[in-house]
Amino acid sequence: MDLTLSPAEEAFRDELRGWLEANHPGREPAGDDAAFEFRRVWQRKLHDAGWAGLSWPEEYGGRGATLVEQAIFNEEMVRARTPSVANVLGLAMGGPTVIAHGTEEQRKRFLPAILSAEEIWCQGFSEPGAGSDLASLKTRAVRDGDEWVVTGQKVWTTFAHHAKWCMMVARTDPEAAKHKGLTYFLMDMEQDAVQVRPLRQITGESEFNELFIEEARVPKENIVGREGEGWAVAITTLMHERATLAFGLQVSVQIALRELIETAGNARGLNGAVASEDPVIRQRLAQLLIESEVLRLNAYRGLSAIMRGGVPGPEGSLGKWHWSEVNQSLTELAMEIAGPRAMLSASDGNWSYRFLRARANSIEGGTTEILKNIVAERVLGLPRMR
C-alpha cells in the first residue's frame, strides 16, 4: 500500500494545478444555453491543452494517462471548483464504448469530435415501458439496404437537445429472446425523424428529454459491435457510466460538502447560534465528511483493483448507490440548516434546487433497487431474485 504520489504523478499534478490556476473559466452563467456554450468552450480549452479524454490512447487524441493520473485530474478539478464539461456522456461513456467495441473507422470518425466537444453525445437506452428492465425495450430497427430504419420512443436522454449523436439500443430481431435481439446504434440526431421534447422535471428545469423516433435512418456502419449483440455493448456503456461517473460523483460530493460547511458556518441555527456549532448538526456534518471520504477511498480502491484486474466490475454499482444516499442526506441536511428558508426556492447556495434534484439520484443511471440486485447477485453470488 502506498498512497503517496510518485515523482511523475507529482509532476503531473503540479502541471495541472498550475494550468488550472491560469485557465480557470470562472463561474458558469445562468440559463441553459449560455451555460452549455460556456461548458463547450471550457471543454475545448481543456482539450487544446491535452486534458480531455485523459485516459484514452494517444492515437485517438487522448493522453494515454494512467488511472492514477485520471484520479489526480478529478481531485484537482474539485480543488479548483471547475465547472462541468459539455460532452460528459461522450467522454465518460460514448468514447470508451467506441474504443472497446468500435471498428477502427468508427474510432477515427467519432473520437476526435467527442474530445473537442464539436459533437455532443446523448444516450437512448430507457423507454417509457423499459426503465429498470432495460432489455424489454420496444424501439425497433428494420434493415433497408445499407441503412436501418428506427422507430420508437426514448426517455431520460440528457443533453439530447444539444446532441449530434445518440448511442441507442433498438430491437432488430423481434423473434429472438429478450436480450438477444438487440443492436447498438449511433444515431444522427440531426434528422427530422428524431423529435426532441424536453421533459420538465420537478425542479422546473428540463435537463432530460424524450425522443420520438419515427423512421429515423442509421447507416449500417454506425452499428457498434455486431447485429444482435447490442446488449453486451450496452452493458459496457453502463459499466463505464457507473465506474467513471462514480469517480466524478464523489468529487462533486466533496465540493458540495465543502460548500455546505461554509453555509453552516454562516447560518444562524437553532435559537440563533451558528449552525455549525450546533452539536446535532456537527454530528451530521461529521458523518457526511466520513461518508464522502468513503466514496473517495472506494473510488481509489476501485482504481487499484482495475490496475490489477483490467475492466471495471460490478463493484462500481456500490459507488453509485452509496453516492446517491450521501448526496440525498447532504441536501436534506442543507435544508435543515436553511431553517424556514427551506420553504423558499431561492435559498443561498441553490440548496433548494439541489435538494429536489437529489431525489433523482437514486433513480437515474440505475435505480438503487437494481444496483442492490447487482451487488447481491454478481458480487455476493446470492441466488437470482425471482
Binding site: 424489454s136 431520460w156 420537478i202 437553532l270 428558508r341 420553504m343 423558499l344 431561492a346
Partner: protein
C-alpha cells in the same frame, strides 16, 4: 374512550373529501400552483359557505364553535386533496385572535373571519433571526410602530391583516392596508401554498393581549394542523405508490410483488398511521387536556414532518423516473410535505420541545 369520530366529525370528513375531490381535481391544483395568488374569491366563498373559516370561532361571533379535532379532520383532507386555499393561514391567524386577541380585535375580526369576509395570516420569521419559530428579535419603536421584515409568510398577499410575532413572545395585529406594509411574493418550493415577504416600515401595530400559555396552545394547534395536512399528503402519496406498484410491470411482473417495493410501501403505512394517531391524539388533547396538548402537538409535528417527507420521497422512488417529472402530480405532494416539515419549527426543534415538556 374511543378513537372513532363522532357522527358530526364523520360528516365533516365526508363532506370535505367529496367537496375537495370535486372542486380541486389535479388539473385545478396544477393551474392554481402556477398562478401568483393561488386561489380565486369564488373558491374562497365556497370554502366559507362550508363554515370552515369559522370552525374555531365561537358561535356568538357567527362561528361553528367547534374544536381542534374538527380542524384536524379538515386539514387532513386539505392535505389529501392538496387544495390551494388560504384556509390554513387564515385559521392560524384566527387561532391567535381567539387565544389572545383584545376584546376590540375579536369584535372587529372574528365575525368577519367566520363569515369568510376577511382573511388573516401569521408572520413569524424575522429575516435575520435563527430558525426557531419563537425566536423573533422584533421590538416596536418607542411609539409602538413596527419596522421589520418577515419572510415566508403564507398567503399574505391576499390577507386583510397579519399577526406579527416579536421578541419575548409578544404579538401584534397589523392591517395589510396600512401604508407602512409592503408585501411581495417569494418563490416557494411548494407552489400550492403561496409565501410572501412582508416589509414593515413604521406600520401601525395593535398589541395582542392574552397569556403566554394561550398563545402556546394556539401555536400547538397550528403545528397540529400542519401535521394533519402531512397525514393527508402522505396518505395520498402512499395510495399513488400502491396503485402504481400494482400496475407497473418490470421483468414481467408487477413491481409491487418485489419486496424492495412492497416493504417500502409497508413502511409508508407505518409512518402514515403513526402520524395519524399522533395528530388525532394531539387534537383531542388540545381540546380536552390542556397540560398534554402542547407536548402532543410537538410530537405530532415532529413525527408527521419527518414521515410526510419520507413517505412522499419513498413514493417518488417507487414511481422511478416518471415520478421525477413535473407532469406527474406526485411532486406537489412531496413539496408540500417538505414545506410543512420546515414550517413553524422543524422536527429537530419540536423534538427539543418534547424533551423540555417531558421534563428532560
Amino acid at each position: 374512550m374511543n378513537f372513532g369520530f363522532t357522527d358530526d366529525q364523520q360528516a365533516i370528513k365526508r363532506t370535505a373529501r367529496e367537496f375537495l375531490k370535486e372542486r380541486y381535481p389535479a388539473a385545478t391544483v396544477r393551474r392554481l400552483a402556477e398562478e401568483e395568488r393561488g386561489f380565486t374569491e369564488e373558491q374562497w366563498q365556497e370554502v366559507a359557505e362550508l363554515g370552515w373559516p369559522g370552525v374555531i370561532v365561537p358561535e356568538d361571533s357567527d362561528g361553528l364553535g367547534l374544536g381542534t379535532v374538527e380542524l384536524v379532520v379538515i386539514a387532513e383532507e386539505m392535505g389529501y386533496a392538496l387544495a390551494p386555499t388560504p384556509w390554513f393561514s387564515t385559521t392560524a391567524a384566527t387561532l391567535m385572535l381567539v387565544a389572545a386577541g383584545t376584546e376590540a380585535q375579536r369584535e372587529r375580526w372574528l365575525g368577519a373571519l367566520a363569515r369568510g369576509e376577511a382573511r388573516g395570516t401569521l408572520a413569524v420569521w424575522d429575516e435575520h433571526a435563527g430558525w426557531a419559530p419563537d425566536h423573533s428579535e422584533l421590538e416596536p419603536d418607542a411609539d409602538g410602530k413596527l419596522t421589520a421584515t418577515k419572510i415566508a409568510v403564507p398567503d399574505a398577499g391576499s390577507a386583510d391583516f397579519l399577526i406579527i410575532s416579536g421578541a419575548d413572545g409578544r404579538h401584534w395585529l397589523i392591517e395589510a392596508s396600512d401604508s407602512g406594509v409592503r408585501i411581495s411574493p417569494e418563490e416557494a418550493i411548494d407552489p400550492t401554498r403561496k409565501l410572501f415577504r412582508v416589509e414593515l416600515s413604521r406600520a401601525a401595530a395593535e398589541p395582542l393581549q392574552g397569556a403566554g400559555e394561550a398563545i402556546a396552545r394556539a401555536y400547538a394547534t397550528v403545528v397540529t394542523m400542519l401535521a394533519a395536512e402531512n397525514v393527508g399528503v402522505g396518505q395520498r402519496a402512499m395510495e399513488m405508490a400502491v396503485t402504481y406498484a400494482k400496475d407497473r410491470a418490470q421483468f414481467d411482473r408487477p413491481i409491487g410483488s418485489y419486496q424492495a417495493v412492497s416493504h417500502r410501501c409497508a413502511q409508508m403505512l407505518l409512518e402514515v398511521e403513526g402520524s395519524r394517531s399522533l395528530c388525532y391524539w394531539a387534537a383531542w388533547a388540545l381540546d380536552h387536556e390542556p397540560d398534554t396538548g402542547p407536548r402532543a402537538g410537538s410530537m405530532a409535528k415532529a413525527y408527521a414532518g419527518d414521515a410526510g417527507f419520507r413517505v412522499t420521497a419513498s413514493a417518488l422512488q417507487v414511481h422511478g423516473g416518471i415520478g421525477f417529472t413535473y407532469e406527474h402530480d406526485l411532486h406537489f405532494f412531496l413539496k408540500r410535505a417538505h414545506a410543512n416539515a420546515h414550517a413553524f419549527g422543524d422536527s429537530r426543534w419540536h423534538r427539543d420541545r418534547v424533551a423540555d415538556l417531558a421534563g428532560l
